[in-house]
Symmetry: C2
Subunit: 528 residues, 2 copies
């Protein structure tokens, strides 16, 4: 955690920024302002692309055909220890605010106003005070800060920030000047333009894409067209842009993305897995189209792409459930990780993350200022809120912290030094993260039930991960360096380490002013 | 032919119109200004949709799956005797200018500056003076006139008006305020966004659709998205719109439009014909999407669609050639018509034409002013230049003829009275057309060679059609009422009628100041 100080109040700073916008062209030669694309894929698993994040090549890497994601990784840095929250809204709120989920208290996914989607029947249930309506206007977001510092801020795709009928439902209320296709829902009613992207499912239909209705155009492609168009408009207007392109894919419904699905069917994939793989391939195609657009517009060497997922890959529900203990481990989703989305084990919270310029050009001013090592790997642990100060850093906005109220707390740490891992700054930052706690506090249940699909708090420090499960109260301890698949619970044999990490967990939760789950029977708080 | 008089010069009228635009909302209650969509399909054959234009249902009608075109016909009027020119540029120039091809002299398709694409080796060749560079700025077009009278004029799709590198290449120079995807080429380099719509074919790549590049989106769908978007913008801006939506489909290359193609393959169509049918189905889907967009925006009852093709359906080249005399007639393309695009027989020049409001609502002001009889048929002969005064009529622009220079000749006749065929006005107009000459003067050769694929002039008056072929000099005479397939040449047995019609042909050509083909050997003019 760190505190970002500002001596200016928001409104005064905003006025200053308006001046700054008009003076942008004059300033451009002095300070480099790269374009920034946050390319957020929904529910994409750790090894669902060709890019390898595990020490050994995973079956998922072999099955995937994602040449553009692969190219991106070859151009930049892959982060092998990147974390997110186990479900969507907490992750997105952390991205937007730079705060730990425990602090911003949007700890669970949101949808209907004032509703708690966590199921019933467990002995321990959601903290009553969690923010059921999600992110709302009134606090600085990465979008509002970039907007105020002169960036064109564009939201395309899934929002899922605020609950239905609240102001937070609309990205344009959260700092985005342009908002296309985002609302309260966490999934599309349909991926097909022919269905109006879910016209027949009130509340789930993707908004603002009426021009595509009735046409055989996949949602991923429609969003890409919209994004490409906004990129062009920003470039034409001479504005640096922050594009938050949040694909609905590869979330359920797992329907095919033609024509990509044909190749997977021919390769013998089951219908379900061909459909899923086609959604992944569609997202890869989107990335390729966007990279080409930046190239065509002459901004490739000045545009940074952050490719990341919002939680682990789906391993239940529409993908069926593969029994952890019974199935051939290598056939499990997210292998070598255990379980998937919604779960406490690594499959639920470890995400693919890549940062790269669209094209390498060491002479480009932005690349001189922010060197990104081509094809590099960083094993420093990161978590989604780190992207908030990272993006502000890249935009030059963090240094002036124009709109951040005094003492606004940001839990994230910029990963900019890690973009050149072998540099002095990179080594220093990696060392600094050695004792940093990665905290994933999820006092809820996502949907499916089962081991790990339950309320939990996970703390990773160094190579060790402690998980607290309050329902059938227990701690589990894993050594991720030697047991990435979390098959050997070391808690019983390492009482001292459990005690030490438990104290750290308690301290980290307290530092974030966390809310705790309660006993369903009494409403009494339960703490680790 | 008729002369449209105007007492005002263009520039003064333009100034007046600017005032009119700002005063539009105030005037709207007084004069009805329907939105007008010219839905132009390229190379669509007479019976390539479910809508029957022949006295008997044709095999093409049975094979097609075009529910939206069918619905349009049920909502409005189909014209069973609608003519176009045998190739593209003459037809489009007639649409734009209201003049007969013989008069505007863009008698052949255009492409490269100053080039004549007609092949060599025939005894008779193109008139040296034909306008090889196509339509150019400087004369009023239906678009410039509507723009000047306050319409938002939008061009989406294939232009093919002026030759490469000339000003006429760009629709924005010909009266369109918005121009998307049109240039000098008469075909797309590719229908696939994945190929950048022909990125690898310099000069053939469809321009201005970069946002779709790299994505599996079909050109027909991309154009529809663009059109839908412009419709929305016009409605939002409170402007009546003239949308010229000119699909590249169903021109070659005959590649499939997924997902439509699957249904035709399953029905046993050959690969080539499944591809072709899928292009037709794609266009039908485009129409459906556009109709739904107008409905959604609340303008369906105030929007008129003119659905038409620019020449007969392709019956050679990529579709192979079916020998006229050998094959089962019912299997011929364009059956019951003879031959297809580029040819003198009806298959080359008879086109499907439908005019309808997007939705019937007799109480809508536009429909009170312009009654269109639902499901009606008009057998009055029409030709493409008729759509110029028709559109001006519908827009209320013809009555003021704001920008038309004094004595500008318009050969077209408005078909507005025919929209309610059984009305008094409809019967009068049908009778008035009884002796009108339909003249198709094509002193060139399109490409393929064969009977009818050669220079010709065709004259239809009443039920009779006289064709003059200068290459192997001859006249042919057909009675279309009794021999729609033109299988019985009546010329030898009806010398008096040939003589009479030949004199009429000579007079009609002279009245249009036509240019004549020349002998390749001497350069001497050849006349009928």
């Amino acid at each position: 955690m760190r505190r970002v100080e500002s001596t200016m109040l928001g409104s005064a700073a905003r006025a200053l920024c308006v001046l700054a916008v008009f003076g942008f062209e004059a300033r451009a030669s002095e300070s480099v302002r790269p374009n920034i694309v946050l390319f957020l894929v929904d529910d994409l698993g750790w090894n669902d692309t060709e890019v390898e994040f595990a020490p050994q090549r995973a079956p998922g890497n072999v099955r995937a055909r994602t040449p553009n994601v692969k190219r991106l990784a070859e151009t930049g840095v892959r982060f092998t220890q990147a974390y997110a929250y186990p479900v969507c809204s907490p992750s997105r709120t952390s991205l937007m605010t730079g705060q730990s989920s425990a602090r911003h208290r949007v700890t669970q996914w949101t949808r209907e106003k004032d509703a708690d989607p966590s199921g019933q029947g467990l002995p321990v249930v959601s903290p009553p005070g969690w923010r059921r309506n999600g992110l709302q206007p009134g606090e600085p977001t990465v979008a509002s800060l970039l907007r105020d510092s002169g960036y064109r801020t564009v939201h395309v795709g899934k929002a899922h920030f605020g609950a239905r009928t609240t102001d937070g439902e609309k990205p344009e209320n959260l700092g985005f000047e342009v908002s296309i296709a985002g609302h309260c829902a966490g999934a599309p009613g349909s991926y097909s333009g022919e269905d109006g992207f879910g016209r027949r499912h009130p509340g789930w239909a993707v908004p603002e894409l009426e021009a595509y209705h009735g046409l055989p155009i996949h949602l991923t492609d429609a969003l890409t067209v919209e994004a490409n168009r906004e990129v062009e408009r920003a470039v034409r207007d001479g504005k640096p842009f922050f594009l938050y392109l949040a694909h609905y894919a590869v979330h359920t419904p797992l329907t095919p993305h033609a024509p990509h699905v044909a190749a997977y069917r021919e390769r013998g994939f089951s219908e379900r897995e061909a459909n899923y793989a086609s959604l992944v391939a569609g997202v890869d195609g989107s990335l390729g189209s966007l990279l080409a657009q930046c190239e065509r517009l002459g901004v490739a060497a000045n545009t940074i792409v952050i490719f990341v997922s919002d939680n682990g890959g789906l391993a239940t529900n529409e993908r069926g459930s593969l029994d952890l203990d019974g199935a051939d481990p290598a056939r499990r989703y997210n292998f070598p990780l255990r379980e998937g989305k919604g779960n406490a084990y690594e499959g639920g919270i470890r995400v693919p993350q890549i940062v790269a310029f669209c094209r390498r050009d060491e002479r480009a001013p932005a690349q001189r200022q922010f060197p990104i090592a081509a094809g590099a790997t960083s094993d420093a642990p990161t978590i989604l809120e780190d992207l908030f100060p990272t993006i502000l850093d890249l935009a030059g906005a963090a240094r002036s912290t124009l709109d951040l109220p005094r003492a606004r707390i940001v839990d994230g740490r910029s990963i900019v030094p890690l973009l050149d891992p072998e540099s002095e700054a990179g080594r220093v930052e990696r060392a600094a993260r050695g004792d940093r706690a990665i905290l994933v506090h999820y006092p809820h249940v996502w949907g499916p039930r089962g081991k790990g699909y339950e309320p939990f708090t996970a703390l990773r420090v160094g190579d060790h991960k402690l998980i607290w499960f309050p329902c059938s109260p227990r701690f589990e301890l894993f050594d991720l360096a030697n047991d990435l698949g979390e098959s050997r619970d070391l808690a019983a044999a390492n009482e001292d380490l459990v005690k030490f990490l438990r104290e750290r967990m308690i301290a980290e939760l307290a530092a974030r002013d966390a809310l705790y789950p309660v006993l369903a029977s009494t409403g009494e708080e339960v703490r680790p």
